[in-house]
Symmetry: C2
Amino acid sequence: MENTSYSYLSREGNLASIASLGRSVFFPSNTTIFEQGSAAKYLYIVGEGVIRISRHLQDGQRYVMAFLKKGDICGVPETGTYLNCACTLSPTQLFKVNVSVLEKRSSDHGELFSELLLKTVTQIRIQQDRLIMTARCDVPTKVAMFLLDLCENFGCFCEKTGILTLPMPRSDIADYIGIAIESLSRALQVLTKQNVINRIDCRHLNIDVGRLRAAATP
Amino acid sequence: MENTSYSYLSREGNLASIASLGRSVFFPSNTTIFEQGSAAKYLYIVGEGVIRISRHLQDGQRYVMAFLKKGDICGVPETGTYLNCACTLSPTQLFKVNVSVLEKRSSDHGELFSELLLKTVTQIRIQQDRLIMTARCDVPTKVAMFLLDLCENFGCFCEKTGILTLPMPRSDIADYIGIAIESLSRALQVLTKQNVINRIDCRHLNIDVGRLRAAATP
DNA sequence: CGAACAGTTGAAGACGATCAATCTGAGTGG
DNA sequence: CCACTCAGATTGATCGTCTTCAACTGTTCG
């Protein structure tokens, strides 16, 4: 594997140059570092200890997104608020970097890397949502969420007619959601019985967006 | 929600400055853009069309990681090879950017953003693996994968004694894996019966790493 | 027209969730 | 030092959901 064309990414990712912009802070065991929903003013780099990153869902359930260890990073902002909460599992030392410092650095450089960074951070958020969906929702809900995503983001839904044109076959959808093709078919049956969708042919569905949104809420 | 402290990330993420470095290319429907495992020389930004990103697993199964649409990005390299394969679902126009161009730009700027970018790209890869695990593996396999991760990456496994010290309670593990606490307990039973692990007390396990690695392979 | 593939439907079984009961172990106060 | 307590962890029994395998339907294209 040649190492020339992507060395910009393959160097030691120790985050030293970022950590040096912040200050070292300590937390005892079982302490909240930041709350879900609060303003994301700091980015943290773990020095020592183990941290739990978790998400509190509407229904009271909890999902643990990650366990962080030395060299890991959390609090990279995208929307301005923390999407998850962070809590120590052991006495922990962190480097705390003010996000405004990054802002300042960004203007010194070109937009290229910050654009790329934004895209990757967005993708992490999307994958987190998907992870929760995969782990916690039943099949009809998963399918509804997928259809809603198609309607809202893929430009294959006609608002006038209410018709969604599926750009991919059943097998791709099933492999995306992580279910069997047959389960997908049955979930579409369920949604049809609930008058959420109406099958025109296998690539065209009539959608009641309001009901779909309800069906896509766990 | 104030917009000052993170505007470096909140500007329109259209990737225009990156796309401008590449050239426009077209693919017909149902065409492979890149194969899983091949050298990652280009980064792609979707102009028009829908692309399927999928992963082929060892056992012949397939998992669809994502469907990409206008403005989405794929092929951001981390390890030097593509981890997934990309295939068009419709006629597609893309911007194809040589990774070496990014390399060149990186050296012009500080290391800060490329370090951050590497971290986020790594996190995306880890989340992808976790997504596959969550969707496709049975509970004992999931638990084995988790324990192996702890042994290899969290510094809580003593090679001499073969004892793993769990840094978190059962509830955290279960919420991380996405299973019930009781299922976790039963999975540990199964692994014990297979002589993969041996319970000392609820925070300490004797581990047979070789067998654990086997149990963690789907 | 019929072959080949995509999608749907049916029946059986496996797996994990849930609820309830029990066990363990660390911390507390007598 | 020993009961007592309470949360965490395990075990048992039951039930529902999703997978699997199989048969069938429908659609596209030579």
